[in-house]
């Protein structure tokens, strides 16, 4: 089965925020809502011996997405490409998915009264195009593809990176997204829990 995910090469990522803005433009996202956010990790160490990297955060494309299994109305679903989507018409804003996502990758839009998340620009994927964040990325750090196809660009990139391919903590949800970061750039900072978007 196809599993589309975004892989980010953090050795290349220069923290320019193009992906954030391109995402908002493409999806006409309301102010206060984000699907994609760039975190600055660090600097770690003591001045002047420091390390730092940027980590763009978005839906981690889980193989077993708890956000889908907990959804009582079927609003959360996985499409033919393995992209996790929300049918906003079916969303009753019960917030179950928000609690279920281990990364806080979903955001409740109080103006529209439904939950939103990264769609991987599936409307563009369906048109044979790429997500806006991938296209605008200044350092070509983002690539998208099927992680279940060993011949895809993303699979090759992950294989080549070996131990330098990191994922966020896995609680059995099996995130497909990988962050590639070699020690030469900075050491990967393990963080036990993530909340990309605050829903308080």
């Amino acid at each position: 089965m196809k599993k589309t995910a975004i892989i980010v090469d953090l050795d290349r990522c220069i923290g320019c925020y193009s992906c954030e803005v391109a995402c908002k433009n493409e999806n006409h996202i309301d102010l206060g809502v984000q699907y994609n956010k760039v975190f600055t990790i660090g600097p770690t160490g003591k001045f002047p011996d420091l390390e730092m990297y940027y980590m763009p955060a978005m839906c981690q494309s889980c193989e077993n997405p708890p956000c889908v299994s907990v959804c009582p109305t079927g609003a959360s679903y996985i499409d033919k490409d393995g992209v996790i989507l929300i049918d906003s018409k079916k969303c009753i804003a019960c917030m179950s998915c928000i609690s279920a996502c281990p990364y806080g990758a979903r955001k409740y839009n109080s103006k529209r009264e439904y939950v939103e998340k990264c769609t991987m620009c599936s409307h563009l994927l369906n048109a044979g195009d790429k997500p806006a964040c991938v296209k605008a990325c200044c350092s070509k750090a983002r690539i998208i593809g099927d992680v279940n196809d060993p011949n895809s660009e993303v699979s090759k990139k992950i294989a080549k990176a070996g131990k330098a391919a990191h994922s966020l903590p896995d609680e059995g949800n099996k995130p497909a997204t990988r962050y590639i970061l070699h020690d030469k750039t900075a050491k990967w900072q393990e963080k036990k829990s993530w909340t990309f978007f605050d829903n308080k």
Partner: protein
């Protein structure tokens, strides 16, 4: 546009589209996924154009539906950006349809600062402004009329200069120039030479240089020193992107910057230097390279002026005519170690001679030294230890950095950014960096940044020319700041602080009118409050821009400028001619060039003889005169390409104007000049790369080579070699007790100068200005993460939010420029809340050559603020009133 009468929700629906022209399968059921429809709808087209939210001109594909731009994305065919588009470019649609655009010419009806306006016609605006200018000219002289430009994506740099020359006023400025790029363009022109291209002339990565790095699949470069530059922040989609490619391919980098930027984080070595001390560090680099003989001896000997003997009394080079009767006055002299005598060195080189690089020799009874020796003497005090103490760096790290640059590393490049342009060491820093590149022979070889790309003028020649010969000698001599700072002649510009003094004190004469084309001078010029004070003495203030800024509140007329999506302009992509094309037009916005042409025309009709000449092809020749329409102007600019018209040009663009192998030739200096049968050499007086600059002494004494007339000499000669000046405000001086921290600035990837602070999606990322402070200093001054901080200098105080980070050198702080458009209608007009240039230093000492004042490297103190400044927006939802709006019905303006 009249068919649209939509509210914002409808607009969002109407603009929810995808960006492909391939057929699209519809996606049912998911309402959050926008339908991929517009690009397949009738009336929708994709237009290839270019951004101008900074100076980089990245390629853009604009999706246009029924005349409305609904989406923009990067153009993958544009080679400089390869489809990348940064947050500045991505904000194009929000900027274009911003509800607060300047839409029509407006005239002030209330008091200045009340922000009460009435709409007037372009005819009325131009007529009234022209009458007032003529009245001021009659009463006070043309020099009392002053112009300015700058501030963000300046689409046509010399438009204002051209008008001022036509009006016979010598006074125009921009907040950059001596504070941005001019120190580097000047010193590289004098050291490396000045050529027909703008794409290899110097090492400023933010100004279309560093082209070799863009050919990253064909890479010979070994290392790049990012000195005072942060391309990931200042130009992510071009230089920042290029660096990601070359780092991935093993090019080593060193970053010299007090701030731990993305480029510093990815560098092999980071030197967190004390702001303002770069020249001290550079002199130590030179000393180390000379001492350890890490320079390219062959290049130094044969292709630089370093073996040439200098008469230590006159500071001028010896010429053959000085040592031999009837000798050539253009042939330089060396000390020949074989014959132990002074010998003429014919160009390019005489292998029979064995020139000394070091030593002191008596020639005709006068002490003469090779300029190599003079450089050695100059850098002698600058040991690694001394540089370490001065610059707050570890000498071992300095040495490591030098070795990355100079040891077995050729070609290696020092790429100097804007930071060193922003304090009085500006030209010395540029000179120092040029010397480093020359010493290691990183000149015109594969992988070198300094290159003579043969673009036949497509890169930067097809635009406003200065018309500088329209300015009379008498008026040029009145240029404010010129006598002292003759390096300004290269850009034909005046000194900001001398203008401010004339405005404020009426000395040496009064300034009475200000024609301003840019964003917010109160956010970019040093010591904002002093400018507001000076403006009170003006009888006429005109602001021409895309939207109102703090400056507008003090103006008498506000004129609407086109956004870049409404602009036609010829541009370049390496060897290719490319185009920014207007994809739509809103309201009564016009191109700045058209406005200034019409203003010159009206002044001519009112009897201004010089303005009349600006419309006369003969009087303007060889430059073009003004034309009635933009179309004719554009036709004229592109006619240099085989007589093309603009229509032909934009339809054909992009097209390779020069074949790549002709464009990207190496070692042009070794090519034979058909006129002489000898190598071309460099376009300097000696035809060699010049390290010792006799030409600086000449410039100070006469204004040559830039002034057509001999000008009165400066009181003290300019120095032929770089020297270090400790910052006037320094932690090592008394002022450091009251103001202990050194202030610096820098870029962030979503702002350019003071533009874009009104873009909702960008302000959502960073709604306020930050001050970066090291935990050591934060603790000392009682500041915690996220606190509002009062930042104070000898000039004034302002606010910023604390980012406590190890990524800022101890003893230094960084603050980004900012202003608050949401506070325009309050008593502050948005320039007082969090504006670092309320603090910066506009007073002497200035850089001697170009008059630079101090925007970085002055002293401040910080304390915890009781609260945030009033009237500012910090929550995303607050920016809702700035979301794109439908343009109202307006007549098409024929220009």
């Amino acid at each position: 546009m009249e068919r649209f009468k939509l509210n914002r929700r409808d607009f969002l629906k109407a603009t929810a589209v995808a960006g492909t022209i391939v057929s699209v399968s519809s996606l049912t059921g998911t309402t959050l996924v926008p339908k991929a429809e517009a690009a397949t709808q009738p009336g929708t087209k994709i237009v290839r154009t270019q951004c101008r939210n900074c100076t980089a001109d990245c390629g853009v594909l604009a999706h246009v539906k029924d005349g409305r731009v609904i989406k923009i994305e990067g153009d993958p065919t544009f080679r400089r950006s390869e489809g990348a588009l940064c947050p500045k470019g991505l904000s194009g649609v929000q900027a274009l349809y911003h509800p607060n655009r300047n839409k029509y010419p407006m005239k002030r009806v209330g008091q200045r600062g009340e922000n009460k306006w009435k709409r007037i016609s372009w005819e009325q605006a131009i007529d009234e402004i022209a009458h007032k200018l003529m009245e001021i000219r009659a009463k006070y002289g043309a020099e009392a009329v002053m112009g300015s430009t700058g501030g963000g994506g300046n689409p046509n740099f010399y438009t204002v200069c051209r008008f001022m020359n036509s009006f016979d006023s010598p006074n125009w400025f921009e907040p950059g120039a001596a504070q941005c790029y001019m120190p580097r363009t000047l010193m590289y022109a004098h050291t490396y030479g000045l050529y027909g291209t703008l794409q290899g002339q110097n090492t400023s990565l933010g100004d279309s240089n560093g082209v070799e790095g863009y050919f990253y699949n064909d890479l010979t470069m070994k290392s790049m020193i990012l000195w005072a530059t942060a391309p990931s922040y200042s130009g992510p989609s071009q230089a920042g992107r290029m660096l990601a490619e070359i780092r991935a391919r093993g090019v080593k980098t060193v970053v010299i910057d007090p701030r731990f930027t993305p480029d510093a984080a990815k560098a092999d070595l980071w030197l967190p230097i004390r702001p303002g001390t770069d020249v001290a560090l550079g002199l130590a680099w030179i000393r180390y390279i000379l001492e350890h003989k890490l320079y390219d001896k062959d290049f130094v000997m044969k292709w630089t002026n370093m073996p040439y003997l200098v008469n230590t009394k006159t500071k001028y080079f010896l010429r053959e005519s000085d040592i031999k009767k009837g000798g050539d006055s253009n042939t330089y002299v060396v000390w020949d170690t074989k014959t132990k005598s002074a010998k003429a060195m014919p160009f390019p080189y005489d292998e029979q001679l064995s020139p000394a690089l070091e030593g002191s020799y008596k020639v005709n009874g006068v002490v003469c030294k090779p300029s190599f020796q003079l450089l050695k003497d100059r850098v002698e005090p600058w040991t690694l230890k001394k540089a370490g103490e001065t610059c707050w760096l570890d000498p071992k790290k300095i040495e490591e950095a030098i070795l990355i640059f100079a040891k077995n590393a050729t070609p290696s490049n020092v790429c100097l950014g804007v930071a060193t342009d922003q304090n009085p060491n500006s030209t010395q820093a540029a000179h120092m960096s040029a010397i480093l590149n020359i010493l290691v022979g990183s000149v015109e070889k594969p992988g070198a940044v300094l290159q003579r790309y043969d673009d036949k003028g497509v890169g930067g020649r097809m635009r406003s020319s200065k018309l500088r010969h329209l300015l009379s000698e008498k008026q040029l001599n009145k240029r404010l700041g010129l006598k002292e700072h003759k390096g300004m002649l290269q850009w034909w510009i005046a000194q900001p602080n001398a203008i401010l003094d004339a405005m404020t004190y009426g000395k040496p004469y009064k300034i009475k009118a200000w024609l301003e084309r840019s964003g917010n001078k109160l956010g970019t010029a040093a010591n904002s409050a002093a400018w507001v004070e000076g403006m009170k003495n003006l009888e006429l203030i005109v602001h021409f821009f895309m939207y109102p800024t703090s400056f507008t509140a003090y103006a008498d007329y506000v004129l609407p400028a086109v956004e870049w999506l409404e602009t036609d302009f010829p541009t370049a992509d390496f060897n290719a001619a490319t185009a920014r094309v207007a994809v739509t037009h809103t309201y009564e916005t016009v191109n700045e060039y058209w406005f200034f042409a019409q203003l010159a025309k009206r002044c001519a009709e009112l009897g201004h003889e010089n303005c009349k000449r600006a419309w006369d092809p003969k009087a303007c020749a060889p430059e073009p005169p003004y034309f009635d329409t933009m179309e004719k102007t554009l036709d004229n600019w592109v006619s240099m390409l085989d007589g093309m018209t603009w229509k032909e040009y934009k339809e054909k663009a992009p097209f390779e104007y020069v074949p790549m192998k002709e464009f990207r030739r190496f070692y042009v200096y070794k090519e034979t000049d058909p006129k002489t049968g000898k190598p071309k050499g460099f376009s300097t007086p000696s035809k060699k790369c010049e390290v010792y600059l006799e030409s600086m002494i000449e410039l100070g004494r006469t204004g040559k080579p830039y002034s057509p007339w001999d000008l009165p000499p400066v009181d003290v000669d300019y120095d032929a070699l770089p020297y270090y000046l400790e910052p006037d405000e320094s932690p090592n001086k008394a002022i450091g007790k009251k103001f202990p921290l050194v202030m610096s600035n820098g870029r962030l990837p979503y702002w350019h100068h003071t533009t874009l602070r009104n873009i909702p999606y960008l302000r959502e990322i960073k709604p306020y200005a930050e001050i970066w402070i090291n935990p050591v200093d934060a603790k000392k001054y009682g500041i915690s993460q996220g606190d509002w901080v009062v930042v104070e200098s000898a000039r004034g105080k302002t606010h910023a939010k604390a980012l406590v980070t190890e990524g800022e050198a101890i003893g230094c702080v960084y603050m980004e420029r900012f202003w608050n458009p949401e506070a325009l209608n309050t008593s502050t007009h948005g320039w007082k809340e969090m504006n670092v240039n309320v603090l910066s230093k506009n007073t002497a000492p200035f850089n001697d050559v170009v008059g630079t004042y101090t925007l970085r490297g002055y002293q401040v103190k910080v304390s915890k603020a009781p609260s945030a400044p009033k009237n500012i927006w910090t929550k995303p939802e607050q920016f809702e009133p700035w979301m794109p709006q439908e343009t109202d019905q307006t007549k098409i303006v024929e220009l």
